[in-house]
């Protein structure tokens, strides 16, 4: 059986963590029209904000950065997004990652409903 000591784990995690910022910036630049500087600023702010919602792992950070890039870094302070903050702090969901899962799922659902409704809106419906 392979045993990894705590010290080894910490060393591995540090290496992983050092590259995380760059990975997130590359991800943002791939999908959003932001400069390198803007991406770096966004990722740094998003990581700080994500921590306030107990979101730390790489998968969660990718999704949280998506959210910040799309809605703005202060998305959770906007009155129209109060429901997002509520979901991210929902005490009836044990895991912070699952709270983010639910939020992402809800946003995708809303986007699909909007696209569907746009297709069926008059006058297209009459054609």
């Amino acid at each position: 059986m392979l045993t990894i000591s705590n010290a080894q784990m910490q060393a591995l995690t540090q290496v992983w963590s050092a590259g995380l910022e760059q990975t997130l910036q590359a991800h943002v630049q791939r999908f959003f029209p932001l400069t390198a500087q803007e991406s770096a600023t966004l990722v740094s702010a998003a990581r700080t904000k994500a921590a306030s919602y107990d979101l730390y792992n790489q998968r969660d950070l990718h999704r949280f950065v998506n959210l910040c890039a799309d809605e703005g870094i202060d998305f959770d302070l906007k009155p129209q997004n109060a429901w997002m903050r509520t979901m991210l702090l929902d005490p009836s969901v044990s895991s912070p990652s699952q709270r983010l899962d639910l939020l992402v799922s809800q946003r995708l659902h809303q986007a699909r409903v909007q696209a569907h409704n746009a297709r069926l809106a008059p006058p297209e419906w009459l054609q």
Binding site: F32, D101, W125
Partner: protein
């Protein structure tokens, strides 16, 4: 959500750690569907193991997943639903049953169960809406013995008057035994609500015509009226308005529908709403004495249905308006037709 954000959300996130644990833990899922077979989002679920629990809610796809579990038996409880508001309809093997996530157990909430409350009905309240908000099956709420008196005076659970007193009972939690590596399918009873509307032109059904129903926040639906001109659709119980579009005689008609706003037929506001819905143009606001428009509308209605033409909103006329409008509650003797096409 922008296209870029949708694309970014669809991208496969990278692995979380340089070290991947063996998937020696498992998951189980619950899928909650409504009466229409569509996913129900936001249902609170608790997975219990002794005095500990995991909590989550169903996603927009109706799914809730519990991960990081030992292969064992657990108790699953929809914590915000009454026992009559849901039922287990099936289970199936879970394809991705392995889990690398660590379960974050916490203590089961031991707070005392809330008691029922007497609710003073507000404008646009309906039993369906209140049942949804309180985790109840609508008929559980409506048939509660403490609502006997109200039930005897109102013909429909969704036609209440402001200041009616409705008893909302407390939910009674129920749990089921569940195991890992399975997905449990749960039906949320009484959700969504059913909208039924009959389209008439001069009291003749608008049969087999295309319609489109738009409800804010919901997916637009399309369909066709049946031979009786009836539109039937599922809508969220919390919806308060809808727009029905249809083609009549080649012209697009749009009908704004206020959901849950219909007053009891015996009230002044109630007969006005029904008279307007039936196409008799009276004033929308209640007033005494009746305006000329009110009297004219009532006369036309009375004439159409062979009643003494008085122009007064007398008891017989108001009851006839209710019966004609509310349709499905027609007593056998009243299933008559108008004397002549009108409206």
């Amino acid at each position: 959500m922008s296209d870029a954000a949708e694309a970014a959300a669809s991208a496969q996130p990278p692995i979380d750690s340089p070290v991947i644990a063996c998937p020696n833990r498992f998951a189980l899922e619950a899928l909650v569907l409504g009466e229409d077979g569509q996913p129900v989002a936001g249902v609170a679920l608790e997975l219990r193991k002794g005095s500990d629990c995991l909590r989550t809610r169903t996603s927009a796809q109706g799914l809730a997943r519990f991960e990081g579990l030992d292969a064992a038996e657990y108790q699953l409880c929809p914590t915000e639903l009454d026992a009559e508001a849901w039922t287990l309809t099936g289970q199936e093997a879970l394809e991705q049953a392995g889990s690398q996530v660590k379960a974050d157990w916490s203590a089961v909430d031991q707070a005392a169960a809330p008691e029922g409350v007497e609710h003073r009905v507000a404008a646009e309240d309906s039993v369906d809406r209140l049942a949804l908000a309180n985790g109840l099956f609508p008929e559980t709420l409506w048939q509660h013995p403490r609502n006997d008196t109200l039930r005897s005076t109102r013909h429909s659970r969704n036609v209440l008057a402001p200041d009616d007193l409705l008893f909302i009972p407390a939910i009674r939690q129920q749990t089921i035994a569940v195991q890992t590596k399975l997905r449990y399918v749960i039906k949320r009873r009484g959700v969504p609500s059913r909208l039924r509307l009959r389209l008439l032109d001069s009291f003749k059904p608008l049969a087999n015509i295309d319609w489109t129903l738009r409800v804010p926040g919901e997916a637009t639906q399309q369909g066709q009226t049946d031979a009786e001109g009836v539109v039937q659709a599922w809508i969220g119980a919390s919806a308060s308005s809808a727009v029905l579009s249809y083609l009549s005689n080649g012209a697009l008609r749009e009908l704004d529908i206020s959901l849950g706003a219909l007053l009891p037929g015996g009230t002044a506001g109630g007969w006005r709403q029904r008279l307007l819905n039936l196409g008799f143009a009276c004033d929308a606001e209640d007033q005494q004495p009746l305006s000329a428009a009110d009297q004219q509308a009532i006369r036309r209605f009375q004439q159409s249905w062979g009643l003494p033409v008085t122009g007064d909103a007398d008891e017989a006329t108001v009851e006839k308006i209710r019966i004609v409008h509310d349709g499905r509650q027609l007593p056998a003797s009243a299933q008559d037709k108008p004397v002549q096409g009108s409206s």
